[in-house]
């Protein structure tokens, strides 16, 4: 099939950027979306032009590196599918496709479709962990964990940190991402000692990075390639309120675990 692509090109953070139109000819239905872009790029290189820069790595939907807004939807039209796992059979011959980078104030564009998602790492660094220095662990079966809880923790842990939830949200809120980690670790017995502190620190970092707030649009859940559910945001809010109240009654000397 033949397609017309409108691709966002931007030389760097300071460049204003613009859409450029390309023809993609003889595209196979069995190609992945990124393979289609590879073919376009091979053509551009041979014509002496710079190829379209886009992030990608594993191409099997797990590393979370790829991410682009395709026809207005983060990762494109197919549910629960990253851009790298989207195949051209989801499109029609003659279709026009608009391709843009993630749009969020906290994610500056580096080049074309490549953005800086560093804020997500900084949120994890602020508190998205269980402090368990190497060597200090008890036997793995010492603490049984009910299967239902372990399974729910795994549902939350499936987040790949791609940022689609933020790109899809009208407020560019990172709450689905943050809540997934708070929920995973908060569901497990190992995560209890730092549960309050974790919620406070991660939320504070999220706010400091300039992400918006949640106004219950639910676009994040719809865009999430790993189907992380909105209910985790409710969990996070509960933890955060509880933690904020508990904070008043805590010794200030106990801080510093993170």
């Amino acid at each position: 099939m033949n397609l017309k692509l409108h691709v966002w090109r931007q030389q760097g953070e300071k460049d204003r950027g613009r859409f450029v139109t390309y023809e993609a000819r003889d595209v196979s239905r069995d190609m992945s979306f990124l393979e289609m872009l590879d073919v376009v790029n091979e053509g551009l290189i041979q014509a002496g032009q710079e190829p379209i820069a886009f992030d990608h790595d594993c191409r099997e939907g797990i590393c979370g590196m790829c991410g682009m807004v395709i026809n207005g939807r983060a990762h494109g039209p197919r549910k629960a599918t990253t851009a790298c796992q989207l195949h051209m059979r989801s499109f029609e011959d003659g279709e026009e496709i608009t391709i843009e980078p993630w749009r969020a104030a906290a994610f500056p564009v580096i080049k074309d479709l490549v953005v800086d998602r560093g804020p997500l790492d900084r949120i994890i660094a602020a508190g998205g962990f269980i402090s368990a220095p190497t060597g200090s662990a008890p036997d793995a079966n010492a603490i049984p964990i009910p299967k239902q809880k372990a399974d729910l923790a795994m549902d939350a842990a499936a987040c790949i940190g791609c940022g689609a939830c933020i790109a899809a949200c009208p407020n560019a809120s990172a709450m689905l991402f943050v809540s997934a980690k708070i929920s995973q670790l908060g569901l497990l017995p190992q995560g209890q000692p730092e549960r309050d502190l974790r919620a406070r620190k991660m939320v504070a970092q999220m706010d400091a990075e300039g992400f918006g707030t949640c106004t219950n649009h639910g676009e994040c859940e719809a865009a999430c390639p790993k189907e992380i559910r909105l209910e985790f945001i409710a969990r996070m809010n509960r933890d955060f309120i509880k933690a904020s109240l508990a904070d008043r009654g805590e010794s200030k000397r106990s801080e510093g675990a993170g």
Binding site: G12, S28, D30, S32, E35, D38, V39, E42, L44, I45, G48, Q49, E50, P51, D55, H56, D57, C58, E60, G61, I62, C63, G64, M65, T81, Q85, H87, R89, K111, G118, D121, I124, A125, G128, F129, I130, A132, P133, T134, G135, S136, A137, P138, A140, P144, I145, P146, K147, A150, D151, M154, A157, A158, I160, Q184, L185, L188, Q190, G191, G258
Partner: protein, 637 residues
């Protein structure tokens, strides 16, 4: 070049404990005076960087991705082995050690493998403490499944995303140290040179992939955890960015490269479907717990799978290897798949595929049970192939997946360049000529969490060093060579794209140095690769500049190195005149087609020393002694 393995004396089960006592320590207050560079942030790199920082060392960690969480360990699906014996089915540290030595076809170092088996139990404890949500039984205890080459259930897993969950555990430990200021993380930085001063590794040169800036970073020791080089085949289950550049630069600075021809071709990947194909996708070996592999008995049978009656199907793994059946090791399963396809019995377009069929398991356990175990894999298969594996058998074919070869290291995981340590897939040490399933995650984490924290302390405590300044002539020379190479790639301005060269190299490697190898083919490859390399440097085109994000330039540098590394692989495969594990020389096989090892001539590690661009590399040998697991013909029948 001298290969001193530094294996401790004494009985195998006491070597590591004895060594831990004998190694020198750096006292807690002095650790912050030492700096360590960690290149790579996968399982080995992230766990190593976090553990070293927890001890108090000043750590700098580098990755080419935008976040350390993206490293390709994340894509490991099936599981991680550990000799916990939670199933009460006869497992033990010794059995895991035995299975791994035998699985590697007697080409790994016994002492390293035993240590790996010992540490496997600590890894599971560590990961659970970090909040890794492993699969559990209803009673709340950890669940296990089986993997190839083992007759016990010792594989721990988190659905089909075990690598993801283990990596996120290590990543979170690493981010904690970044938050505490103990690790300085450099994302989107690619290591392009090793700095060696007075014979010791003292730093690296990187390119900032956003600004193009060439920078040097100096330290008291350098650790490479940069993964394998299986992308030399172009089509592979690796991430697109995985490359051999870091280890290749180290090789050219004096680190011996061990057993480069030992590559793993994984039996269960989604077959190639078009010329534009950019990568191959693995379908986890765990699927072979419940899926049965078969092809039609008759060559050229084009009936739909459900039209082929039971009696006309050949469940060839169950037939040839009754005691292991569909869970025969990877090298054997891959070769068997190639064999039936060579006989014209392959299925799907092009005849390069075999069925992996869940019909029996669905009948026995129900579709829901299969969905719970493998749901995400089946979804992924459907997204890629547009076929529903619950209704139609999966079609699979072998693909490049892992490299057992890598930089030579001693028992302390130090290469032949003092101060340069190598962890995980990037080293050669634990898997011999074939890696068993669910053992890569185990090795990466054992090296990072539990080996390097001890051995690097020993190196630092026993090696007095002067501080190196950035103005040192060797540092300047290394920076200049990196900058010059980038300019050279941009200046060729030829007609062919980098990918087209990479694809051509991949075809040569797959044809001559893939699942079946022979003297004539390897010699042909040794003619073709230098010629291709010559053409690359005369006809490649790399648009853009070296002063900003330039993905073509990044790829060009990596492919230039693969064009040299591929040649070394073929050379190694040619010299190893035996068949063992993943290295199958067609001239050396039994009448039934099984591999014929030659222990008299080749019971050794081949470690290659770089001798200059215009000289042949020198092949050294480290003899392997099997004092515990006796050399026998490997049989899974």
């Amino acid at each position: 070049m001298e290969l001193r393995s530094n294996i401790p004396s004494g009985p195998i089960e006491q070597k590591w404990e004895k060594h831990r006592f004998e190694m020198k320590l750096v006292n807690p207050a002095n650790k912050r005076k030492y700096s360590v560079i960690m290149v790579g942030s996968g399982l080995a790199g992230a766990s190593g960087a976090a553990s070293l920082a927890e001890l108090g060392y000043e750590v700098q960690c580098f990755c080419y991705q935008d976040s350390p969480r993206r490293a390709h360990s994340i894509a490991a699906q099936g599981g991680i082995n550990a000799a916990k014996n939670y199933q009460n089915d006869g497992d033990s540290v010794y059995r895991l050690f035995y299975d791994t030595v035998k699985g590697g076809d007697f080409r790994a170092r016994e002492a390293n493998v035993h240590r790996l088996a010992e540490l496997s139990v600590n890894i599971i404890d560590q990961c659970v403490a970090q909040g890794v949500p492993f699969a559990r039984e209803y009673g709340g205890l950890l669940a296990n499944r089986s993997f190839g080459g083992a007759q016990v259930s010792r594989t721990f897993y988190a659905r089909g995303q075990t690598g993801q969950q283990l990596l996120l555990g290590a990543y979170q430990a690493l981010e904690r140290q970044i938050g505490l200021g103990k690790v300085k993380m450099h994302t989107r930085h690619e290591m392009l040179e090793l700095i060696v001063i007075e014979g010791r590794a003292r730093g690296i040169v990187t390119r900032d992939m956003i600004t193009g800036q060439i920078e040097s970073h100096l330290a008291d020791a350098v650790v490479l955890a940069t993964g394998g080089y299986g992308n030399v085949f172009y089509l592979a289950t690796y991430a697109k960015g995985c490359n051999g550049t870091a280890i290749w630069r180290a090789y050219k600075k004096g680190a011996a490269f061990a057993n480069p021809c030992f590559t793993q071709i994984h039996p269960t990947c989604i077959p190639v479907h078009g010329e534009y194909q950019s990568k191959l996708t693995l379908m986890s070996e765990s699927l072979r717990n419940d899926g049965r592999i078969w092809v039609p008995k008759k060559p050229g049978d084009t009936r739909r799978p459900d039209q082929i009656p039971e009696g006309e199907r050949d469940y060839y793994l169950e037939r040839k290897y009754p005691s292991y059946g569909n869970l025969a090791p990877r090298d054997i399963s891959s070769r068997a798949a190639k064999q039936v396809c060579d006989e014209g019995r392959g299925v799907g377009p092009g005849g390069r595929g075999v069925y992996l069929d869940f019909a029996d398991a669905i009948k026995r356990l129900g579709q829901d049970a299969i969905r719970e175990k493998y749901g995400n894999l089946c979804d992924m298969y459907e997204r890629i192939t547009d076929e529903n594996p619950y209704q139609v058998p999966m079609r699979i074919y072998p693909a490049s997946h892992y490299t057992m070869g890598g930089l030579w290291v001693d028992y302390n995981l130090m290469s032949t360049v003092p101060g340069l340590h190598v962890l995980g897939e990037a080293n050669f040490s634990d898997h011999g000529a074939n890696r068993l399933g669910a053992s890569a995650l185990m090795q990466g984490l054992a090296d990072g969490y539990f080996v390097i924290p001890y051995t690097i302390g020993h190196y630092l405590a026993s090696t007095p060093q002067q501080k190196v300044e950035k103005g040192h002539p060797e540092v300047k020379r290394a920076e200049a060579s990196v900058a010059e190479r980038g300019k050279k790639l941009l200046a060729v301005k030829g007609k062919r794209t980098v990918d087209s060269f990479h694809r051509e190299l991949g075809q040569i490697m797959w044809e001559h140095c893939g699942m079946g190898r022979n003297e004539a083919g390897l010699k042909a490859a040794l003619d073709k690769i230098p010629a291709l390399r010559e053409r690359f440097w005369h006809d490649v085109t790399v648009p853009g500049s070296d002063a900003d994000l330039n993905q073509s330039l990044e790829k060009a540098g990596r492919v230039a190195d693969f064009l040299e590394l591929g040649e070394l692989m073929c050379r190694d495969a040619l010299e190893r005149r035996e068949s063992c594990g993943g290295h199958f020389r067609e001239e050396y096989q039994e009448e039934d087609g099984e591999a014929r090892r030659d222990d008299d001539s080749f019971c050794h590690v081949a470690a290659w020393e770089y001798a200059g661009d215009d000289k042949a590399p020198i092949r050294h040998q480290e003899p392997l002694a099997f004092e515990n697991v006796h050399l026998t013909k490997r049989s899974y029948k």
